[in-house]
Symmetry: none
Subunit: 198 residues, 4 copies
DNA sequence: TATGAATGAGCGTTCATTCAT
DNA sequence: AATGAATGAACGCTCATTCAT
């Protein structure tokens, strides 16, 4: 009689452990043995759920980005326009103590994506999704008269994205000079410039 | 008398090989054997010049950043104001085929800096140096009347830095959507906003 | 359920292989690869049972000395007095073909103990145990009237120990001049001198 | 014009450095680079004077034993009988702080001699020389009436040798229990037993 | 399905030795 | 003769992966 287990729950258990360890030791520093130990499950069973380390890695990243995507969607549906955009960026791009682990894993992912086309493709899809959300918010803002009618929402979405992503990264790497409050201020100032033109 | 060799030249030979391999295989994917082969010298010889892999790694990063610092200094001394700043950002922040290797290594370095305080400190120093250069250029621009007199050059330097760094990173990771021309346009548009206020 | 193996039996398998190889190649000459091959198991497997070469080494020495200690205890419980002592020394201090490996490993251990305080401490404990056994036998012999009542059993135990240890070592290093028969004769002659005084 | 150097003096310089390093790091722990550094000479020149590490090692041991042989000869020529023997043993077998290095190297040598026939042969020759000196002293003592006329000087020389060698070794390995004074006492007590029979 | 023992390729590092100058 | 750079085999150790139970 097979033991009844929730396959997906076990997978998430392992993936969560992997994320914590990547945040601590980096992608390559994470070992399969350590993941099993961190998850509190046996070593051998890890290979029942993930065929290889790469498999686990990509699942962990997918888990991470799914959570982020869900948050983006939440924001874009809960409110509209520039205010929604600002709150989204505050919540998602800013890096503080609570989001540090995620940011470290994301950076590690980027570093690998620069080397592996497969991961680069995955990265591209995620970016496109986020850009589309931002563009929609900008269109809403324009319709609401918050920003100039001549605004090229696609180009501006790109600019906002790289700006806020850059801010978060610096917040992770150099928290002394880019504390959360400073990150906020930079984002607010940027959005204000958009508004000012109106 | 011993065989006459230029110690520093040999070190640069190895460090250059290391940079190429990091760009191809990542920090951890780079092996000492591969570096020796890439440099065209023997494996054992590598350890005459670098006591350990970490030693080689930090020297390679230092070489990279020294080159970047030198370029920044060149720009800030050769011309002045916004024009100088724009050329600096074009030359240094943009990522195209020719600067791809450097950008990959830099990203790998950032990824490690998120885990190791020593590298984080090194990163902080480099950032500070670049921020200072940008601030000086902004001050010159203000003195020349290119930007509003009320401009907070320190805060704006931060914004310019994270923006251009973010652009370069996306240029590396998603060249299809962020080709060099698009990167240029984004930077130009950003600087124009500064000017527009004047 | 995992493959069922006797963890301790595997450890002894490796430790036994280590002892044979130390006897052949010395402490430093023994390689982990050779131990695995000698034990008939794979290289990687060795590191499941011993975390490091030092770990294996100390376990091997411990195994050796445990066997010796057991023999000493056997002797001191099976018979008493000078006769017991003589048989103990014949069996334990003498070096012939059958005990050569043990003696070589022991000598290698001594050589390392002269350099490493940790091993020196281990050595001291072993010596103390053996000295105590010999002293007890001498006390028994004195109680039985085999040796003079004025005998200082502690000092004499020391003398007997260094003498028999010295003989065994020469038996190992110079078997032509110190064959087992000669070693026996020297020990017998020494003990006779004790008796003669009675 | 070749530089005028004292070939043998350079060799002794290296050999002396080797002995110090063996005493500190063991036979295998001694590296050729460290020897050159310790001798204050260049690495490459070491190989002008010694064709290989083994060559250096055997020369260092030869230097050590030559010094010991010289001392033994001195004693056997300067005085006679039991008194000479006692002084010889005090001076040569005892291990105190000043002779520790020599004793460590000697023990390392023994450990290797157990593995290499060449060194074992060298060891045998040295032993034979020392045994012969002791036998002569015993013969002198017998002629002088210090020991019983029935004494088997050859067998007794063997006994004295292994006893004093054993004492010295314990003095090295377990100085707390075998301090120099205790070593002396044990030797004196042994010789007294010889005399007592007279 | 679950477990952890078994495997061996690959890593960074050391080092005696050789060799060009 | 003197120097130290060059070489590569060998070492201890790690680790993802496989497999027997």
């Amino acid at each position: 009689m097979p033991k009844i287990v929730d396959h997906d729950a076990q997978r998430e258990l392992f993936a969560g452990a992997a994320i914590r360890l990547i945040a601590r030791d980096g992608f390559e520093g994470m070992t399969m043995r350590a993941v099993a130990a961190e998850a509190g499950l046996s070593y051998g069973s890890l290979f029942h759920y993930f065929g290889s380390k790469d498999d686990l890695l990509s699942h962990a990243v997918r888990l991470l980005t799914a959570q982020q995507s869900r948050r983006v969607n939440d924001f874009s549906s809960r409110s509209t326009g520039l205010k929604a955009l600002e709150r989204l960026l505050f919540d998602d791009a800013l890096v503080d103590a609570s989001s540090r682990d995620e940011a470290v894993v994301w950076l590690a992912f980027l570093s690998r994506a620069a080397l592996e086309p497969t991961l680069a493709a995955m990265h591209g899809q995620l970016i496109d999704g986020w850009l589309e959300r931002i563009r929609q918010m900008l269109d809403e803002a324009r319709a609401a008269g918050e920003v100039p009618t001549g605004l090229d929402s696609e180009a501006e979405a790109l600019a906002i994205w790289v700006f806020s992503a850059g801010i978060g990264q610096q917040g992770l790497l150099y928290p002394k000079r880019f504390p959360p409050a400073r990150q906020q201020k930079l984002i607010t100032a940027y959005l204000d410039k958009l508004r000012a033109k109106a």
